[in-house]
């Protein structure tokens, strides 16, 4: 879940940055700073051009000091504070990002990209009240934009485990952007968690159609299908689980789902192999060790089972498995 959400945050931020740069004229229009100075050795115009180029190329380490220099040259211009905030965020310094983005906001910037960026930065330090406020602002300014709605849904789903609340957001997000496979998948995931399995099956199927149409490497709809079908239609579930692994081989839950199906089919060596991959990918997840322990017991490998059980107990006592 954590990896999935990190990639969500990463993708969301990429979207925001790209949107910011492509919508630059709208934001630039808010600029009330002084006229550009071109008498310095490296002119402000050059710095702006360079910064834009570096940000397009996602070269954040180089972009940040240029943004900082522009902030010092034009302290009243919110744009440079905003871009500094974006660079700081990408350099994994959420607190400096928030501070820069707040400077932009305090200087009058009031754009969807700013509110979305600030909202995600708040999210990253678990400031959820402020996250929700920013996403609401973004949504009011751009009511046709699905991203804030999607983010709010992800928050409700992954942090609060409020699946019925999240479902409403995902339904709205899919109305605004019907071809967004992730919104469709998470809508299905909420239906699954609310025991609306027939609906969830249909929604996962729709997400799969989108993934294939968009040629995305997004495995969760396949994994979802496998989960729902594994006890009733194991052969079909196996096809979906294999496809999930093919699409995202580094997601441990894809391997543990496949392992479960192999186990149901009595293919214990194959199940063991998949569980070992899952453990290698996420060594800290207690659950994978527990399942592997049970499997070893079925295979009569008592010592291996005991070792896995001990690891499970140790990890269980160490790690907080609540949403992160």
């Amino acid at each position: 879940m954590s990896i999935a959400f990190r990639s969500f945050r990463f993708l969301s931020f990429c979207l925001i940055v790209l949107q910011t740069l492509t919508e630059s004229s709208r934001i630039w229009a808010q600029t009330v700073g002084p006229a550009l100075q071109s008498n310095s050795p490296v002119s402000a115009d050059d710095q702006k051009r360079t910064l834009g180029e570096l940000m397009r190329q996602m070269r954040w380490v180089e972009a940040a000091p240029i943004a900082q220099a522009l902030v010092q040259t034009y302290p009243d211009d919110p744009n440079w504070h905003y871009l500094l905030g974006v660079a700081r965020w990408r350099l994994e310094d959420p607190i400096a990002a928030i501070q820069a983005l707040r400077e932009a906001e305090n200087r009058g910037m009031d754009t969807p990209p700013l509110h979305k960026a600030l909202g995600l930065a708040y999210y990253s330090i678990n400031q959820f009240i402020l996250f929700e406020m920013q996403m609401d602002k973004a949504s009011k300014l751009a009511p046709l934009d699905f991203e804030p709605i999607y983010s709010l849904g992800r928050y409700r789903e992954s942090i609060l485990n409020d699946y019925s609340g999240a479902l409403k957001f995902f339904e709205q997000a899919t109305l605004l952007k019907p071809d967004h496979s992730k919104s469709v998948y998470y809508k299905g995931h909420c239906q699954e968690m609310l025991d609306m399995w027939p609906e969830a099956l249909g929604t996962f199927q729709s997400a799969i159609v989108l993934v294939e149409k968009n040629r995305e490497r997004f495995s969760l709809p396949y994994q979802g299908m496998a989960r729902l079908l594994l006890e009733t239609k194991t052969a079909q579930a196996l096809v979906f689980a294999r496809k999930a692994v093919e699409l995202e081989p580094n997601l441990d839950s894809n391997h543990s789902t496949l392992a479960r199906i192999y186990e149901l089919e009595g293919k214990l060596p194959e199940a063991e192999q998949q569980l070992q991959i899952a453990v290698r990918l996420s060594p800290n997840k207690p659950g994978n060790h527990y399942v592997l322990s049970k499997l070893y017991r079925s295979l009569g490998r008592t010592e291996d089972a005991q070792a896995q059980l001990q690891t499970f107990q140790k990890l269980k006592a160490t790690y907080d498995e609540s949403p992160q």
């Binding site: 707040r102 990253s124 330090i125 678990n126 400031q127 009240i129 942090i159 996420s282 498995e321």
Partner: protein
């Protein structure tokens, strides 16, 4: 020693900041911020201005500013869920200024709001024995220091860390914290003149720390010297001199000279 103190405060602040970034109470030696709660239970700022004010404290470099900003924060946001963390920063700022009374007061305010906060407990437990001179309540303070160290050990045991933190990293952070608790026990024992106990606690602190610290070996050396074990003292003081920092190295070398242990082994 001041520079050493300042480095420790900086490290503690860094830990606090990282910790805040993770759970707001929780990534890294997130652990040091107290028992982890899930993000859903992380302390929340209710307004952007409240968080701005808090971040000003958390990122402050000048201890006087941190102390002042904390007071302002307390008066403006007296019901803030971030108050406990703010007092922790204030405590560290007082530590940086070597202001024991301020440290004690801020630390205890932090503990009222976050009673199991290991970072606060360890800071207080280690600071108290160093600041007893001339105080009529020194016996009571020593008992408090000991209790804080005990509570810290219990808190460390109960900590749950995020799945993103590698087990090895956690075990190293945990051992560091346990080491600080034993250092506090050792200091309390020294003040009570329980010298063999002090040696044993300082041994656990110095040798159990995965990131060996000169100051812990220095205390160990002093404790060995106090019980007349010169070999033990010389070995520990040499290690302290190796580890530094500079001010501590000078102290350790001075003690070694006194013991006649400056010559190579």
């Amino acid at each position: 020693m001041n520079r050493h103190n300042s480095l420790r405060v900086k490290k503690s602040k860094r830990i606090l900041l990282i910790a805040f970034a993770i759970m707001c109470g929780s990534v890294c030696p997130v652990a040091q911020v107290g028992p982890f709660s899930s993000p859903a239970h992380a302390p929340q700022a209710k307004t952007q201005e409240e968080l701005d004010a808090y971040l000003q404290i958390a990122t402050g470099q000048d201890p006087n500013m941190v102390i002042r900003n904390t007071e302002t924060f307390v008066s403006q946001y007296s019901q803030s869920m971030l108050l406990g963390m703010a007092y922790q920063y204030q405590m560290l700022a007082y530590e940086q200024k070597s202001d024991f009374q301020g440290l004690l007061s801020a630390g205890e305010k932090a503990l009222k709001l976050q009673p199991d906060n290991v970072n606060t407990l360890l800071t207080l437990a280690n600071a108290i024995p160093n600041a007893l001179a001339g105080r009529p309540d020194s016996a009571d303070l020593l008992t408090r220091a000991q209790e804080y160290a005990h509570r810290a050990l219990r808190g460390i045991d109960q900590m749950r860390i995020p799945l993103t933190m590698p087990l090895e990293r956690w075990e190293s952070s945990k051992a560091e914290m346990v080491s600080r608790a034993h250092e506090a026990f050792g200091q309390v024992a020294m003040k009570r003149n329980q010298l063999p106990l002090a040696v044993s606690e300082f041994e656990m602190a110095a040798r159990g720390n995965p990131k060996p610290r000169g100051s812990q070996f220095y205390r160990l050396g002093a404790a060995y010297a106090a019980i007349g074990n010169n070999n033990g003292a010389v070995t520990a003081l040499r290690r302290a001199a190796d580890l530094g920092p500079d001010a501590l190295r000078e102290l350790a070398e001075h003690e070694l000279k006194e013991l006649g242990g400056m010559h190579p082994e």
